[in-house]
């Protein structure tokens, strides 16, 4: 392992020639500009063309290096410390916000001793990395687990729901959940159902680039999430992320109506079949829709944190083997969400297997792989036939939300029969069903 972790090739040579090491304060001169800061490790998969400096402001910047760039050591540094945080000011005026960490890019930082990524551990660490937080709220940190979100399962949803409940009862003005973005929308849907009767906001937040990378969105997203937790007018489960690819606006999406729609962009989350709930710009939160659950109501908080894992999601495609449905019947599954084509269809040759599933008391719900829009199984023969068989059209619910909801319905209410399950699926628990589709501007 080199003393300059993450740096390779020409940049590594330049750094060695300047006789600098991680933690030194260095100066980089380029195109008549000078950049000064503490040299920190380059993230493992960052650009090979940048040197990463931690500036006095607390932010990291990446400086692109070309052959003319000059590097010099300004001061012999110690490795950057996260042990002495700035003291929060005016604490008497500030609300208490809990940040529950489940893992993911937003919650991690490079450990400067090992070069590995580790979760941010304490409120002090958070203040160090994002100093502005100390002016927005008094942060309480709770490390629940440290998982990349692809490893989050329904069992973890239960633990997160209980933890959220605990902190609300203890008096948090709002709970922020740091979470990987991969399955964040599934968790958001799960919490929307599991945590009912909210009087404060519950904000999931993530980042598409880690805090150690020059272009990280972690700090702005975290500031947005904590601001909404402390001051937001709404008491709902939302996802807080960039609205566009610039840093101006943080947008809050309702937890049952949101989807990750890009593998890498910062504005990856989009509200589907619904407008976003609210946005944050220049420190101000503005509500976008009028029909929301306001902060501070006197509803009773109810935590119903359990999910039945005998529910699956099947995406229909030409040539799909209907015996896959028979396999789920044999495994005693209780629910199947179909991601059908168009308005909610499957090939005719799948009908007998779907019929067998329904004869075996499996709840079969229909959503659309179009993603946008509403299923309508009255228009074409395939839809009408599927409804006759007993398939339930799930309005404008997202396939992922429908999956989570059916898992929750089956465990929470232990319905006495399929009809009761179906009635519960059509009840609107957390804004997952809109009575009409709101037109969206999508790509042209």
């Amino acid at each position: 392992m080199t003393d300059l972790p993450g740096y390779k090739g020409k940049i590594l040579k330049k750094l060695k020639k300047a006789e600098v090491k991680i933690g030194d304060i260095i100066s980089i001169e380029k195109n008549k500009s000078t950049y000064e800061g503490t040299l920190i490790p380059s993230s493992e998969y960052g650009s090979k063309k940048h040197i990463v400096l931690k500036q006095r402001t607390g932010y990291n910047i990446g400086v692109e290096i070309d052959p003319t760039t000059q590097i010099s050591k300004v001061g012999e540094g110690s490795k950057p410390s996260f042990e002495v945080p700035p003291k929060p000011k005016h604490t008497e005026d500030l609300s208490k916000v809990t940040i529950v960490s489940t893992g993911g890019t937003v919650a991690s930082r490079v450990d400067y001793r090992t070069g590995g990524v580790r979760p941010t551990l304490s409120a002090n660490d958070l203040y160090s990395i994002v100093p502005e937080l100390s002016e927005i709220a008094v942060i309480e940190a709770d490390i629940l687990f440290n998982l990349l979100s692809e490893n989050i399962t329904p069992d973890h949803w239960s633990k997160i729901a209980k933890t959220v409940g605990k902190h609300i009862i203890k008096g948090s003005a709002g709970v922020v959940i740091a979470h990987g973005t991969d399955t964040m929308a599934y968790t958001a849907a799960a919490l929307s159902f599991a945590v009912q009767g909210l009087s404060v906001p519950v904000i999931l937040v993530g980042s598409q680039r880690s805090a150690d990378r020059p272009s990280s969105d972690a700090a702005t997203n975290l500031i947005g999430a904590v601001t909404a937790a402390a001051k937001g007018q709404f008491a709902e489960v939302v996802i807080a992320m960039h609205e566009t690819i610039n840093d101006e606006t943080i947008i809050f999406h309702r937890g049952t109506k949101v989807r990750k729609c890009h593998t890498s962009r910062r504005d990856t989350f989009k509200s589907i079949n619904s407008l976003p709930l609210a946005k944050l710009k220049n420190g101000q939160i503005t509500m976008i829709i009028e029909d929301f659950n306001p902060r501070g109501g006197d509803q009773k908080l109810i935590i119903r944190p359990y999910f039945d894992e005998k529910v699956t999601l099947i995406k229909i495609h030409p040539g799909i083997d209907p015996r896959i449905i028979d396999w789920y019947i044999d495994q005693n599954y209780k629910g199947i969400i179909l991601e059908g084509t168009g308005l909610g269809h499957t090939s005719e040759y799948c009908f007998p297997a779907i019929q067998r599933a329904i004869n075996n008391d499996i709840v079969v719900g229909m959503t659309s792989q179009c993603i946008w829009g509403r299923v309508n199984m009255n228009v074409y023969e395939a839809g009408r036939d599927l409804m006759k068989i007993g398939v339930l059209p799930l309005e404008d619910m997202l396939p992922e939300t429908a999956l989570v909801k059916l898992m929750w319905i089956l465990k929470t209410f232990n319905p006495k029969d399929v009809d009761m399950s179906k009635r519960l699926m059509m009840e609107n628990f957390a804004g997952e069903i809109n009575s009409r589709t709101i037109l969206q501007n999508r790509s042209k």
Copy 2:
């Protein structure tokens, strides 16, 4: 069956009171406007508030009825006839375009004798419904089958590919394929691979509302498709549909980069990770991208129309049962396309099953359920572990396109081992892989 099929309630009473029947020329007076035309049946699922008139122009309009509306009979009509088409003009100057009908909304019309929907049968029928076609091209019609597209299977793709080849060899200036929209994008991908070395355009076209409904997009889409088939500068497989919800522009999407993104909107098809190929406005076709296959090249037409159905698509979700992969192994599947989370991930607990699939010589490819963006399995541990196991990252390919491509690769090239299949999957046969992601404006 009533004499006024499709009309119910108050409208039916009004029509009966006016003593009119289907085929009569009637006049409707409303808000000082007068609408005149032949009374035709209302489509089964059309609005209950409209009377549908066929105007002299050949188009249908829907007139909303309120209590003040006056209806009167202008002339005793015969049922509208489709037997005497307008003669195409200037046939010597016009190209020959073949319309291959596979079914779907665009290819159907109400049979005025039975009230049922039946496929449009002949070129004459098409000229009757869309008279403009006779000024664009000499139409040759070929009814291949009459299926709603949810019932189209890989076997049908083969038949369509062979039919397209036949008509190109016979000298068509372009082939239009009327197809239901539900699985049109899968068929477009299939034809993009199966029909190589094109020198003329192959245009899939559909409609979101049938030609008998007041707001149908069938005529404008069909005119756009035939125009591009006759005169388009490109020789690729594309989908031709509305660009927006108004009728001004028809947009042509490359067959491997397009997806149905709304259950009911006319502009449901979107190019993903790519700009559309071209657009039609005011009768003029403009290319949008520069890198396309031009009309009239001297490549040799090659039809490779077969697909291996032992390939499936699995959408990953929290709590998914990995034994589903074991089931596919047991059924001797040859390929699995995973629709992973984020940059191309699954839960760790799925790794052993994926490993077993690969040990059994199953090709396992990774795409993303984000839909937009590119998989990158180098960034996080889950991706790196999956690549070590042998999972193939499929760049910016759509999951649906990857599924169709793997079906095609396995049958067409009969690869001697998994490595050869993987190499072929990474070859760019029909623009399905972009070397970099083109940023898109999506919903905000």
